[in-house]
Symmetry: C2
Subunit: 391 residues, 2 copies
């Protein structure tokens, strides 16, 4: 096996992080620009609150886990300050977007801005010991839980005629709760972990196919509707590495095994045998999906798969994971990475050509690429060390 | 020039209409199924109110303008009855979708369901002389005008920080008002036509480029934001044949000329010189658009272009229109039409391959294909007659 740990570490520290350090900081208004073209030039100045949270989290995390680099902490502070000053409405909900100088543009209509604000606050509080920010992390988390049953609030357009549960909620909670461990009561953490495992593995994971559904009925039954049939393979695979993290934390080999099986099932189902890569959306019954972008290849789907496969291999050493890892690795690194200008392209068409010539936008910021680089670096470091030790 | 009128007439009457007659009627609950696969089989039974309105309008229009065929009137009635029974909330707003038996699924969150209900009611009232339905058309139109300033109502997520006007509103009004001429006061019709021409040609049409923008500031100024830069070429071209219809009605050669120039400008800008076809979305400054599906080739974009070009040629006889017509004709007929199972495919990837193997869904019903067949049939009939006469 090649020495992947250095590849991930070097790309993180020499290619990806420098791209965001150099191009994303708004030195006038604070916060980060995320709409960056292939060379890193700002092509739109709107600020998307969930991407502000993600980048502030990322730089705090690097400071906490890689190196006590003050530049990273300063960059994290720029985002945390912007979110605190401009990100929140009077009820503690977080706007979807603002102008570059912080005027609200799009109302808080889902909980994702809130989730990434909470994650940013928590990591930043760890880095700085700032008690106020720690308290804000806790408040934000409590507010998210309050909105669990109706995350879109007044902006929910769906009636109650045929209610469905959304996978995104237990999925994000399973990651968020570990991120906020420092902030929450021990019992609360364990309860939320229990809830997430139960929902993700017991309800949204289909026992027959081993696939993860995006929506299920309140009774857990599949519904033959557009949403009821929807699969989002990247979502499912990403959630599986959250489950592996939980399995490691709890010494639960059975959970790790089940998550690993699920990764493989999803990959087999959603790999494009014609052009390579993993589809963005699929219909569980093979019907036409509603999403016109269903056949596109997205950066985060492939990066989360690399993380999931390397973690699964780290903890199970199953050979088929290596075979899959190498297949996904070859596709991902040859199609998305950009050694010339730094960071990765985000959107390819089915054939694997760059579809949007950008490094960041409304949905892509400083998050999946550097997080995956960090996660894979650490997993391969452990894998490689243990291989050396065995020799 | 080939004899296109027969092609359009035959395809309408022998291929397209039979497809919907055979496959779309819900004989149990009333209304129409629109989620039909390539062979016409129902793959989802949800009912999208705006597509119910569009099909009821289409069959009423055929009855009024092609032939007093009672089967067509019966089919129109099935839709009108379903809309009256299940489509409206207590405030006279129209749901976005319902279950197959009419339970509301998605709340009224825009005015498009209302617009197509009004059009259906009006054509159906002409066909039947039904005074109640005529009154309902008028009420629905009045309700749309009331919602002009805030068409999404409580579901509007955008703040007032940077307000933009949407092209869709004057565009749809310019067509709706002619459809409802029978129902409205003469003065009201003329006022709305004046408003539409002013907005479409004077505000949303950019004087420098000759292109139509999807959004402009309240002062008519372009905004350098994702929405402010957005072009939807098919929308612009479709609106131009509405303008030509108005120009004919008013004997306004200048309007017809301006609309024709605009069609050509948009076509030159948005034609894919690599693979052929017209892009779905573009950014006016060449920046990456927000819409992941921007490079796809959609049926309605190409059909509306054929209508626009044939109408423009009918009234101006400019030779460059024929050159463009033949180019778009060859692409459109060879890529979208399906002589085997009837109706047309809706969604192609940039390369021109079928992306979604469906004939109808959430956004495609019995509307653009048959309407364009009818419009092109009638335009070419006039063009061919006059050519014969000239000889």
């Amino acid at each position: 096996m090649k020495k992947y740990s250095n590849l991930y570490k070097d790309t993180l520290l020499k290619n990806v992080i420098p791209f965001w350090e150099k191009n994303s900081i708004d030195t006038v208004n604070g916060g980060y620009f995320t709409c960056l073209d292939d060379e890193g030039k700002v092509y739109d100045s709107d600020k998307f609150m969930w991407l502000q949270g993600r980048q502030a989290w990322l730089f705090s995390m690097l400071y906490n886990k890689v190196e006590k680099n003050n530049k990273w902490l300063e960059i994290a502070k720029i985002g945390v300050d912007f979110i605190c000053k401009h990100g929140m409405d009077s009820n503690g909900n977080f706007y979807f977007s603002t102008t570059c100088d912080g005027k609200p543009l799009v109302q808080p209509y889902n909980i994702f801005s809130d989730c990434f604000a909470a994650m940013a606050f928590s990591q930043y509080a760890i880095a700085t010991g700032d008690e106020k920010i720690k308290e804000l992390a806790k408040q934000t988390y409590r507010n998210i839980l309050k909105k669990k049953k109706n995350p879109k609030g007044v902006y929910e357009k769906t009636t109650n005629a045929r209610p469905l549960k959304n996978f995104a909620l237990p999925m994000i909670l399973s990651n968020l709760v570990l991120e906020l461990e420092d902030v929450l009561e021990k019992e609360e953490v364990e309860d939320t972990i229990d809830f997430s495992i139960r929902e993700v593995m017991g309800v949204f994971r289909d026992k027959n196919s081993g696939l993860i559904y995006e929506f299920v009925g309140l009774d857990g039954i599949h519904e033959d509707s557009f949403n009821g049939r929807l699969l989002n393979p990247g979502h499912g695979i990403e959630a599986m590495w959250f489950m592996i993290d939980i399995g490691v934390r709890r010494n639960d080999d059975n959970l790790i095994k089940k998550a690993t099986d699920t990764i493989l099932k999803i990959l087999e189902y959603s790999w494009d045998t014609k052009y390579g890569g993993i589809f963005y959306f699929m219909d569980a019954y093979g019907k036409p999906p509603q999403q016109l972008e269903w056949d596109q290849k997205l950066w985060w789907v492939h990066l989360e798969t690399l993380v999931a496969l390397s973690k699964a291999y780290e903890h199970t050493r199953r050979e088929e994971l290596i075979t899959w890892y190498e297949k996904v690795h070859d596709y991902t690194w040859s199609h998305f990475s950009d050694s010339k200008n730094g960071e990765w392209f985000g959107y390819l068409n089915r054939q694997g050509e760059v579809l949007l010539n950008l490094k960041g936008g409304k949905w892509k910021g400083c998050f999946h690429v550097p997080r995956a680089m960090f996660q894979c670096w650490k997993s391969f470091e452990k894998i490689e060390t243990s291989i050396k030790t065995n020799k």
